[in-house]
């Protein structure tokens, strides 16, 4: 976990902001400012930037409408928002699989993206790995993929994944196990998600 959580540097934690927003709806804009970039990036990596523009916006609208049901014991709202985004992504399963299949065939992002001149060299070098991982991700069940990417990209704990996907923690573990196995086979050996202690 190298990423600094936005709320860690703020004076007021997420749960408090959400609580305030029940009486003062615009307080939730604070949550938007803290999380929009990471939620958008998470969605963009799964569906492309264009779809991410809509889904990231919808994530915060959904959060706003559902703020009364937020568990105030969860001081950080990141997992909650990733869960909402994942549910919205679920409506685009076929789109995501098309995206990944196209990526696995070409090794390049099939959706129109802004220019990335400074990353071109790196992308070419990583093309073969991307190709294999895209194929592995596309061939996973959507449930396995959700768990893998919430852990790998969203940096959610198993418990957080279980809570936001509303599945038992054992299910999270078994899904992650299957997903990692597929990724490992695709890369021809090492577990690509294993954390080095």
């Amino acid at each position: 976990m190298t990423q600094t959580h936005p709320a860690e540097t703020a004076e007021v934690d997420d749960a408090e902001l959400i609580r305030w927003s029940r009486d003062d709806p615009e307080q939730l804009a604070g949550l938007f400012d803290r999380y929009i970039e990471q939620i958008h990036r998470f969605v963009a990596r799964r569906l492309g930037t264009q779809a991410a523009d809509d889904i990231a916006a919808e994530t915060f609208l959904t959060a706003f409408r559902g703020r009364a049901s937020y568990d105030p014991a969860q001081r950080l709202a990141g997992p909650w928002l990733y869960g909402i985004a994942t549910n919205l992504i679920a409506k685009h399963r076929r789109g995501e699989e098309r995206f990944l299949r196209a990526l696995s065939r070409t090794g390049t992002n099939p959706l129109p993206e802004p220019p990335m001149a400074d990353t071109v060299v790196g992308r070419v070098a990583a093309q073969e790995v991307d190709h294999r991982l895209a194929e592995a991700l596309a061939s996973m069940s959507s449930g396995d993929r959700d768990v893998l990417l919430l852990v790998a990209w969203g940096e959610l704990t198993y418990e957080e994944v279980a809570a936001v996907l509303k599945v038992p923690i054992g299910t999270v573990r078994s899904r992650l196990h299957r997903a990692r196995k597929k990724a490992r086979i695709a890369l021809g050996g090492d577990d690509p998600t294993r954390e080095v202690a």
């Binding site: 709806p25 615009e26 939730l28 804009a29 938007f32 929009i36 970039e37 958008h40 990036r41 963009a44 990596r45 930037t49 779809a51 991410a52 523009d53 809509d54 889904i55 990231a56 916006a57 919808e58 915060f60 609208l61 959904t62 706003f64 409408r65 559902g66 009364a68 909402i84 549910n87 919205l88 679920a90 409506k91 685009h92 076929r94 789109g95 992002n109 993206e113 802004p114 990335m116 990353t119 790196g122 992308r123 990583a126 790995v129 991307d130 991982l133 895209a134 991700l137 893998l148 790998a152 990209w153 996907l165 509303k166 990724a183 890369l187 577990d191 690509p192 998600t193 294993r194 954390e195």
Partner: protein
């Protein structure tokens, strides 16, 4: 750092434009008035009642192409409402969902053509059993906006202010109990209108009406529609009516709720369970509130007259639905 974590790691961050647009959308939602149930609006704003009559009886995106789906069998009798709910749910699950595979926000609209019995005479809440009006409405696929010809050829686009929307219901888990819980939470969070209070309408009756409104006026995914069909039998007081007639004279089968003052029906085709329309009938003589004109506030203490037992309060028939690219576009234009 491992390969999965790096995979697509060069995806660019959100653009300033997209961020500003998303933030503006959120702020707009924050500044909207608190949602009110459709029925409350119906009686608080009588001049608009016909419009929200439409909102309560319009089609869903699921019904596009739905007519080709066959039912389990052709039998007309149902052992109980649970059986009807199960059969309707299975038919809904087989329905196509291509109208709703995108994020429920921008893009296409659902065109709905229907026949309704218009209000008899405002501000009376009953409809005229002997007249029909053909109405065309467009619903944004996120369920948040509706558009209607204002009668002089100009399209009026309005926000739909029912508490629950299709996007809310599509949030996992989409199970009968979960959608029913959302419906009940919406009912609990919304004060009863003067009309509902005056009728002593219990929570389960308001829940039934909420589902009627959703089925009629919100584009719903197959899963949500199926869950709502299975949720209906779980509401105390909901029964099956073996023969019900919509405003176009088509016979079907209905989920019915008989309250102390009013009987309400959600009518579906007996063979393929597609949504046909709604019917509501007054069961006892009842005063109705005098709520004045368009901008008049609710005046629960005042009454304007009496609605007789047997008077129809709503009657509709859905005639055609089609996904189109923009409001105002009709199929095959």
């Amino acid at each position: 750092m491992d390969e999965i974590k790096q995979f697509l790691g060069s995806t660019p961050v959100i653009t300033r434009e997209a961020k500003d647009a998303a933030r503006a959308q959120l702020l707009q939602a924050m500044r909207e008035p608190l949602p009110q149930p459709a029925r409350r609006r119906t009686f608080r704003i009588p001049r608009l009642a016909w419009r929200f009559g439409i909102a309560a009886v319009a089609a869903s995106a699921l019904l596009v192409g739905y007519g080709v789906v066959g039912g389990d069998d052709q039998s007309a009798a149902y052992a109980d409402v649970k059986e009807l709910g199960e059969r309707a749910a299975k038919a809904a699950e087989r329905g196509p969902d291509d109208a709703y595979t995108r994020t429920p926000s921008p893009g296409q609209w659902l065109y709905v053509k229907e026949s309704i019995a218009p209000l008899l005479a405002e501000p009376r809440p009953e409809v005229d059993r002997d007249r029909r009006e053909t109405l065309e409405t467009w619903y944004s696929l996120d369920g948040k906006q509706m558009a209607i010809d204002d009668g002089v050829g100009k399209l009026a686009i309005e926000e739909v202010n029912t508490g629950l929307k299709s996007a809310d219901l599509a949030q996992e888990p989409v199970t009968p109990d979960a959608v029913l819980a959302k419906v009940k939470a919406s009912v609990a969070a919304t004060p009863a209108s003067p009309f509902e209070q005056g009728r002593g309408m219990p929570e389960q009756e308001r829940a039934f009406h909420t589902i009627s409104t959703l089925m009629g006026g919100q584009p719903l995914t197959p899963q949500v529609r199926a869950a709502l069909f299975r949720a209906l039998p779980k509401i105390d007081g909901v029964s099956v009516k073996q023969d019900a007639v919509d405003a176009a004279g088509r016979h079907g089968v209905a989920f019915a709720y008989t309250g102390s003052r009013e009987r309400s029906e959600i009518i579906v085709d007996a063979n393929d369970y597609r949504f046909l329309g709604l019917y509501g009938e007054n069961l006892a003589d009842q005063p109705f509130p005098n709520e004045g004109g368009l901008a008049a506030p609710a005046l629960p203490s005042g009454t304007a007259g009496t609605v007789k037992a047997g008077a129809p309060l709503m009657w509709s028939a859905q005639l055609e639905t089609k996904v189109v690219d923009k409001p105002g576009t009709r199929p095959q234009q």
